[in-house]
């Protein structure tokens, strides 16, 4: 499936700690903030996570091509939180688009998230 811009596929492992919670995420690239695409559900993250379970899967974002162009060197920030996010901490992971963890490819096969006891 073609993106309006470019797909940014963020592979993640999430582990529950104290209670079953529904995780939420957003991706900030340069000046823009993106919500995860639901076009690929249920092959993307979004299900509830519970204590001692680890869920491995991907968030997918449709990001403006100019921000992900080679050499753009934009700051990318993934924010993850549970509940409504107010008055609570959020997990924030920052990297740049030229980070060695960023892999550029023409196509991605999305596998459904996998849960396991950690």
């Amino acid at each position: 499936m073609q993106a309006a811009g470019q797909w940014a596929v963020i592979e993640t492992a999430l582990q529950g700690t104290r209670t079953t919670e529904l995780p939420h995420a957003e991706l900030v690239v340069g000046p823009n903030t993106y919500s995860p695409s639901d076009l690929f559900s249920p092959n993307t993250l979004g299900a509830a996570i519970s204590p001692q379970f680890t869920q491995r899967g991907a968030w997918v974002f449709d990001v403006a091509s100019a921000l992900l162009a080679p050499g753009a060197e934009q700051q990318m920030t993934l924010r993850v939180w549970v509940d409504d996010g107010r008055l609570d901490s959020r997990l924030v992971i920052r990297m740049t688009t030229d980070d060695p963890h960023v892999i550029r490819t023409h196509a991605v096969d999305l596998e459904p998230p996998v849960a396991s006891v950690s």
């Binding site: 700690t17 209670t19 079953t20 509830a48 001692q52 379970f53 459904p112 849960a115 006891v117």
Partner: protein, 169 residues
């Protein structure tokens, strides 16, 4: 000069008292309901000891059975995650069915797992049982747990997370 200072102190004191009273009213009106709602999520309205029954929300509650399953009871979808088991709890209820939605939460005293929802690993309830609080009959709750978890109690909560009844296992 002394008279003006004294009047100023008096005016400041009155202002401080009025501000403190306003703050107290604001806390009472604005925060008290939210604090009460939070307290209901950590303090059960009713606690039922193991093997006993208790009254909550106009019904009498008792643990009828607890069953362990080590494989998925449904024919579709993936199997249980590696290292996980299912705990199927049946709760006896007597009295009129509550006209409300509820959820099940199981705890080991430190952590809390919500019950399986639609599309989860919940087995089909036997005759006379239901997965819905608003329907009559035994309430069936299914929990996906790490194999080594040792649950100590099941909570039946309302949609806001308030614990209506805690039944020790």
């Amino acid at each position: 000069m002394t008279g003006r200072l004294s009047a100023l102190r008096q005016r400041n004191a009155v202002g401080a008292v009025v501000a403190a009273a306003a703050f107290g009213v604001l806390v009472t009106i604005d925060l008290a309901p939210e604090w009460s709602a939070y307290r209901r999520t950590v303090e059960p309205e009713t606690v039922v000891a193991k093997g006993h029954s208790g009254v909550a929300d106009g019904q009498i509650w008792k643990v009828a059975s607890v069953r362990h399953l080590d494989r998925s009871p449904v024919d579709y979808g993936p199997g249980l995650p590696e290292g996980a088991v299912l705990l199927v709890v049946h709760l006896d209820r007597s009295g009129p069915a509550a006209q409300r939605v509820c959820e099940g939460v199981i705890t080991d005293g430190r952590r809390r797992w919500k019950s399986e929802g639609i599309g989860g690993f919940s087995p089909r309830p036997p005759d006379g049982a239901t997965t819905l609080c608003s329907e009559p009959g035994q309430l069936q709750l299914t929990f996906l747990l790490p194999r080594e978890a040792v649950p100590t109690a099941v909570d039946v909560t309302n949609l806001e997370g308030g614990i209506m009844v805690r039944l020790a296992l």
